[in-house]
């Protein structure tokens, strides 16, 4: 019985999703923008324009918070604190609140037009701060961003819920400090007489229309910045962190720096908005920046879709309209209903007062039924048809020419990787004890051993995901022991994970592009302004990724726009290898690359791994399938209980007694040796 209802729901969602395709979004966005531009001319009501001008502030805040929460996945429940910091920065430096005594110290500032000299009848002159609004917009952004970095540096390593709580604590502290420092902020009464901006001599005064246009301009700037950032090296690194911090780091993303960057950019926009909002209201009280503001912004983002720029704009506009428009009319209706039905509660209810109830309901319903938001940041690409899947039958070894995969010159006569005395214990368990290993360039070394013998820990130690207790790891003579994973990637070591750590909600192309992170340099400014060198870098990165993807013939090529979570298991393995290869490694660590592949696919991958060696990549691989090991490994090392019990060619290892007893037990080993 439920089937038809299900289909209908999907149908409606389907139409909605189609309506929100990229072209549609652009068209709808343009129409909305023109409407927004014309709004003060169409609607002459000063009250409406005033509400709209206030609303722009919250739309800017929502867009700023979206960079932090939606892009980088850092749930910030104290975002209003940065709004407050920006607001008070402007409020204090453009009002009569703080008036130090005049001295010659202030002369240069007067000359710059930042302060005025107040004459008083008592003979002591005072300073009046009168910094221009237009100057304070960027300054308050810098101040707020500074606080963002100051607060973020120690806290951003906390994860998920914990970060949310810490930011909530910060968000509580800032308004209390504002209330408790009345000489700066006039405490709970609030700052008064904040200077209103003027534009080439035209003072904004108490009019709303100029503020509305300033706000609108800021929204447009922020949409532009968000769009540019999202589709850039920086944005991809943020999303990678959001999806899987460990994998992002192992692919060369410096997560501390990028999280701080997101936090600082978000805080900066909040700071500017604070200046804008205070200039408009000409007052600032601590109550304007409390927890409910942060929650309201969160509701806007959740409603529209986390990480979706269009969604956040729609969410912000909708909630503001709801608050200042729909609810008043709706309240009339409900009162009427109350009178007719005689239900007292309905007669008394004021929906405008109940806006927080509606926020709560929106949060719960969205989380239960549509977590991706009304306009999701991501839409699934349709699956390939059978014909598309089998279109190009080129599979097998690497076809066609490829540029060398690494850029570091390697001396073939010297060892590439030297490990000595490597040791790691987890509590009482010695996962790796005193491992020594030398790997020559251009070889394929297989690491085998029973489960729990320390193979993956060994990989984690080499790639920096785990810090060793003792021992040294030298890469081409350079000591890389204890370096952070992203620094090790930069030096030319890349890896895949045994249990697959792809960025599930990013496309195949984006996953691979994260691998290029450590080889490219575009920063936030470059991403936003996109100068020619950034365009060239981006284009080269994409070409590089396509080149590497072509290793796997038509396995991944037709799917570059698909989300990683829609791939088959074998294709996920291939994508992980691709992502590792685009980091241009000299040393590639493959952790069970053929797990979950059928015999044909295993053979195919075996050929490809061998071809990689031909292209100058040295390979360490953990593998359980011994036929693969025998096929491609130059040398095999066997681990058991964290120790290397044997090393040699595959043929030697097959005859090694100790290996047999480690795998089969002593009795069986003796029997096997006897037969």
């Amino acid at each position: 019985m439920s089937a038809p209802a299900e289909t209908r729901r999907n149908g409606i969602t389907g139409i909605w999703d189609r309506m929100l395709s990229e072209e549609w979004q652009l068209k709808v966005g343009l129409v909305l923008f023109i409407l927004a531009l014309a709004f003060p001319l169409i609607d002459g009501n000063e009250g409406d324009i005033d509400a709209a001008a206030n609303a722009t502030a919250f739309a800017i805040l929502a867009l700023g918070l979206n960079i932090v929460v939606g892009f980088a996945g850092l749930l910030d429940l104290g975002y209003a604190a940065f709004f407050a910091i920006g607001a008070y920065t402007y409020g204090i430096f453009s009002s009569y609140q703080v008036q130090p005594e005049w001295s010659s110290f202030w002369e240069p500032f007067r000359w710059l037009g930042l302060v005025q000299q107040l004459h008083s009848s008592s003979g002591v002159d005072h300073v009046h701060f009168a910094v221009s609004f237009w100057l304070m917009l960027p300054i308050s952004a810098l101040v707020a961003a500074f606080f963002g970095v100051l607060f973020g540096a120690p806290t951003l390593r906390l994860k998920g819920d914990y970060l949310a709580i810490v930011t909530l604590g910060f968000g509580e502290i800032v308004p209390i400090v504002a209330r408790n420092t009345p000489y700066l902020t006039n405490g709970a009464q609030g700052l008064n007489g904040v200077t209103t901006p003027s534009f080439f001599g035209y003072s904004f005064g108490v009019q709303s229309t100029p503020f509305y246009y300033v706000g609108l301009a800021m929204i447009v700037v922020l949409i532009f910045v968000s769009m540019r950032l999202k589709d850039s090296r920086v944005g991809r690194a943020w999303m990678a962190i959001r999806e899987d911090e460990i994998a992002a780091e192992a692919m060369g993303v410096n997560r501390t720096r990028l999280k701080l960057l997101a936090f600082a950019i978000g805080a900066g926009f909040a700071g500017s908005t604070g200046t804008f909002y205070v200039a408009k209201l000409q007052t600032a009280t601590p109550e304007m920046f409390m927890f409910p503001v942060s929650v309201m912004l969160l509701v806007m983002i959740v409603l529209g879709g986390m990480g979706s720029v269009a969604g956040v704009v729609v969410g912000a506009v909708f909630l503001q309209l709801l608050q200042s428009w729909f609810l008043q009319d709706l309240t009339q209706g409900v009162h009427w209903l109350g009178r007719v039905t005689g239900i007292g509660l309905l007669e008394r209810v004021d929906l405008v007062q109940s806006i927080e109830l509606i926020f709560g309901i929106i949060l719960v319903l969205m989380m239960l039924y549509r977590r991706q938001g009304l306009i999701p940041a991501r839409r699934d690409v349709h699956a390939l048809t059978l014909a598309q899947q089998t279109a190009v039958p080129s599979r097998g070894g690497i076809k066609g020419e490829m540029k060398p995969l690494h850029r570091k010159a390697i001396d073939p006569g010297k060892p590439l990787l030297q490990i000595s005395g490597l040791r790691k214990a987890f509590g009482g368990i010695q996962a790796v004890r005193g491992l020594d290993l030398t790997v020559m360039p251009g070889s394929i070394i297989a690491v085998i051993g029973p489960n729990g013998s320390g193979k993956t820990t060994f990989f984690n130690l080499v790639t920096g995901l785990t810090q060793p207790d003792a021992g040294k790891v030298l890469l081409a003579g350079e000591d890389i022991t204890g370096l952070k994973p992203d620094a090790i990637v930069e030096r030319g070591v890349a890896r895949t994970f045994q249990n697959l750590r792809l960025f599930a909600n990013m496309s195949v192309m984006e996953n691979a592009l994260v691998g290029v992170h450590s080889r490219t340099t575009t920063g936030a400014l470059g991403a936003v302004f996109r100068p020619p060198w950034v365009k060239r870098e981006e284009e080269a990165a994409r070409q590089h990724v396509l080149g590497v993807i072509s290793i796997f013939g038509n396995r991944l090529m037709p799917r570059v726009q698909h989300l990683a979570r829609t791939l088959s298991y074998a294709n996920r393995r291939r994508l992980e290898i691709t992502r590792a290869l685009v980091t241009e490694p000299v040393l590639l660590l493959l952790d069970e690359p053929t797990a979950g592949m059928n015999p044909t696919e295993t053979l195919e991958l075996t050929d490809q791994i061998r071809d990689l060696r031909e292209r100058g990549v040295t390979i360490l691989l953990i593998e359980h399938k011994l036929n693969v090991v025998n096929e491609i490994a130059d040398r095999v090392i066997v681990l058991d209980h964290g120790e290397k019990i044997a090393e040699g060619t595959p043929a030697e290892i097959q005859r090694n007694k100790e290996v047999l007893s480690a795998y089969l037990g002593r009795t069986a080993a003796t029997a096997a040796a006897a037969s």
């Binding site: 806290t155 998920g160 949310a164 709580i165 810490v166 927080e356 926020f359 709560g360 719960v364």
Partner: protein, 309 residues
């Protein structure tokens, strides 16, 4: 009062507040221990608890502080109000879990926590709609019996409050350590999957956890009313955040830690209010929250750092 008497008085006050925060912190810590969720709805379960107690007493004709009871009637009324309040709050907690949180079990990331923020808002505003924004005079049948200890005063309600909190906490401790269901809870907290394999009904454990945690929050709500002689729809947020800080301070997920953390936060509030300034106590408490999470996320008594990402 000399300065020692003031100190003693503030310690008495602090322990009383602390007992309340401990009860409230237990709910946070138990839920976190089992399903690694920070439950913002818990704030307002506490607030609803205080209203259930108030309505109940009003229904029994106890209004304001004028109806004073002694002896058996007093004990009878208090036990009845406590039990019904705890049941009511417990049922509310279970309803929250069942309706809004169970469908999100296993969803990674912050979605479940965002849901609890939404639930908290809903409860808060529904109460506001029904009772109005004004502060409510709380019914209090306790006689005002003071004992002088030096210059400080210990009143009956404080002794009673300590007693009730102690009994509830010991009961919880016994339940978790000694009963079969308690063992199932401990197992689920350690490893949900393994507990399920061993035949533990995890859904049932989660329901019991929410019930117990919320019931304790209800008891804390009653205690709040009896202690301050008022209640209001806004009490959940401040008390809830302080109790949450207590849970973090003690080591979230750790039941004795929550009790210790609660007492410490109570003492910080009363002593900070006395020796520093009241207006800075919240800054101190939230700074503790931030500092503990940053420098010692496992808290004072926790063994392992939180691992959820």
């Amino acid at each position: 009062m000399n300065s020692w008497d003031i100190l003693l008085q503030q310690i008495i006050n602090g322990v009383s507040l602390g007992a309340m925060y401990s009860l409230l912190a237990l709910g946070f810590t138990m839920v976190y221990g089992i399903i690694e969720l920070i439950n913002f709805a818990h704030f307002n379960v506490f607030m609803v608890g205080s209203f259930i107690a108030l309505w109940l007493m009003q229904a029994m004709g106890i209004v304001g502080q004028s109806t004073i009871l002694y002896g058996l009637p007093l004990i009878g009324v208090l036990v009845l109000v406590l039990v019904v309040t705890m049941l009511g709050a417990g049922v509310l907690g279970v309803a929250i879990e069942r309706v809004a949180l169970r469908p999100l079990r296993g969803v990674s990331g912050t979605a479940p926590m965002i849901t609890t923020i939404g639930l908290s808002y809903i409860i808060y505003n529904l109460v506001l709609l029904n009772v109005g924004a004004d502060t409510k005079n709380f019914s209090n049948p306790l006689p005002n019996i003071p004992w002088a200890i030096g210059g400080a005063t210990l009143r009956l309600r404080e002794v009673l409050l300590w007693g009730v909190s102690l009994v509830l906490m010991m009961g919880l401790h016994y339940f978790v350590r000694r009963t079969k269901m308690g063992k199932a809870m401990q197992a689920t907290a350690q490893d949900q999957e393994a507990a399920r394999m061993m035949g533990v009904d995890v859904d049932n454990v989660v329901v019991i956890t929410f019930f117990l945690g919320s019931a304790l929050a209800g008891a804390a709500g009653l205690i709040f009313g009896l202690y301050y002689n008022y209640t209001s729809f806004v009490i959940g947020y401040t008390a809830g955040l302080r109790a949450f800080t207590a849970a973090v301070l003690g080591g979230i997920g750790n039941i004795p830690g929550a009790m210790l953390g609660g007492i410490l936060i109570g003492l910080i509030e009363s002593l900070g209010g006395q020796y520093l300034e009241v207006r800075w106590t919240d800054v101190i408490i939230f700074s503790i929250l931030v500092l503990v999470l940053v420098f010692r996320p496992s808290g004072l008594m926790g063994r392992t750092a939180p691992s959820k990402s």
